[in-house]
Amino acid sequence: MGDWLSQNGLLLGLATLDGLSYAAAVFMVAVGLNLVFGVLRILNIAHGSLYAIGGYAAASLSLFLSSRGLPEWLSLPALVVAAALVGVLLGPVIERLLLRRVEGQEPVLQLLVTFALFMVLEDLQKLVWGVQPVVSDTPVRLLGNVEIPFGADTIPFTAYQLFVLPGIALLTLVGLAWFLRRTLAGRMIVAVTEDREAARAMGIDAAKVTLLTFTAGAALAALGGALASPVASLVPGVGAQTIVLSFAVVATAGLGRVEGAAVTALLIGLGRAFAVYFEPELEVVVPYIIMVLVLLIRPQGLFGTPETRRI
């Protein structure tokens, strides 16, 4: 064991750091998916497309800024601006025109509708951004590398992945938990999630709450994509990968708590990163192995509570 550690310690450190930054992006997507499912009771397969579009939009905006010779530091706020734009432009349209119409209907129909939307958005991406990988690593280059002391060695790691990605995810986690627990609007979202009928009987505008929540969820997915865009090149299919992984996170965490999504994203992000470094052929299955193991022991998920409400 000691031998193994001294030989592989560096890899272990790298895997942990990689896992952390990966988990940060996955968390953003999964927490949005969780919020949206809570108020709409629709599993939105197209949620992953919003991640991809957020990434593409951020890359495009960053490339546009540098083509105009604007200062490079603008590429950092551009990530957030691009994500917000995607959320605000696409969120309300999708919710109003599509999802609202299938609310409360057969789950099969809902899945088909969001799957169709996913296919349409996927082709739309190819139409707009083509099939060649799109890369814009300005934010990463801008912030440079950090040498992390690790025993006798140092691990070089990008400051972007070390600070910006986990930092924004942490900010989102704390901010969202505070918002949902302490503010009026947040409590109304929780109320609609818990019991839509009772919320309506109280005069809460459930339709408005749903629209705003969906828009926020879409923006979070887009932010996940935007934040990942400087460290991973964007190719067709990235949306599908993301949605499947976020499903795994949401199913493993169970519905409800924001913190649950964070811990689970961390678990799955680290699990995947360790696989990449030590058993690369297991990379794709590790998240699902974790999911299956958790669900075998706790069918309601790590942080979910069993449904006891009447149907």
């Binding site: 302490r182 503010t183 609007a185 818990e194 009928e197 009987a201 005069g203």
Partner: protein, 264 residues
């Protein structure tokens, strides 16, 4: 006394079951009207129709002279009609105080996204409301940690927070231990009379009806079979046989088929 809510010719059927088959019913301003009848008769259906949850197949309902059929539940709340459900609809993730504040805030209308739930004006009003219901000592408990009597009261307090002129209650004492029942009814009567709320309530416990109601409507086979003051209705041999015989006093556990209608 003027008519506050008026139903004419209401008809609705679920499959072969005629829950309402030509219902005419007037609710007078300021009165407490009890609706009694066997389980599955359509009493909850009436509340659902009057609050926008269910559309009758025929007939009309006017409130304060205005037609309200086709309005969304939220619009009807704004118009002044609140309701409570057979099962308390408290938000279990919230404390009792937060539940009350949420109802007050919902009535207050447009809300700033980052405004705190327990800001001063909501907190003060919520505490005052809970105090009227005798619930202030329980304000910081989570809603799912209350006993059934307190839960029922808190649930109705949330409906009262909406400042309704008319409150429709679905079995306000069902599930409450009989020792507690009368205390719950006393509190309800006092608060509703103080705030001049007109009340319609579905009830199975005839003791509660006798104590609480100004008038009693007997709902059976989709029709209003009898209507009048409690001492008259509750001593009517036909009512005793058809209604009270079927649903004896104290049968308030509330597994009624109407609940199933409300949910489907």
């Amino acid at each position: 006394m003027s008519v506050l809510l008026s139903a004419r010719g209401l008809r609705i059927a679920f499959g072969g079951l005629k829950a309402a088959d030509g219902i005419d019913l007037d609710v007078m301003e300021g009165e407490f009207l009890a609706i009694i009848g066997p389980n599955g008769a359509g009493k909850t259906t009436f509340i659902n129709m009057a609050t926008g949850y269910l559309r009758p197949q025929a007939g009309s309902i006017t409130y304060d002279g205005q037609p309200i059929l086709g309005l969304k539940p939220r619009r009807i709340v704004k118009a002044g009609i609140a309701r409570s459900f057979q099962l308390p609809q408290l938000f279990t993730e919230h404390t009792v105080l937060e539940n009350a504040a949420l109802a007050i805030a919902a009535r207050a209308g447009p809300w700033a996204p980052l405004a705190p739930l327990l800001q001063r004006r909501f907190r003060a009003e919520a505490e005052e409301l809970l105090d009227r219901f005798g619930l202030l000592p329980l304000a910081d408990r989570r809603a799912d940690a209350l006993n059934e009597g307190a839960r029922k009261l808190a649930d109705i307090a949330m409906a009262v927070a909406l400042k309704p002129r008319l409150l429709l209650m679905d079995e306000p004492t069902s599930g409450v231990a009989s020792a507690e029942k009368m205390a719950v009814v006393e509190t309800l009567t006092r608060v509703l009379r103080d705030s001049r709320v007109t009340a319609v309530f579905v009830e199975h416990d005839m003791e509660v009806v006798a104590r609480f109601a100004d008038r009693v409507a007997v709902w059976g086979q989709g029709k209003i079979m009898a209507l009048g003051p409690p001492q008259q209705i509750l001593n009517d041999p036909a009512v005793l046989r058809d209604v009270i015989g079927v649903a004896p006093v104290g049968d308030g556990a509330g597994t009624g088929k109407e609940g199933a209608h409300a949910a489907t």
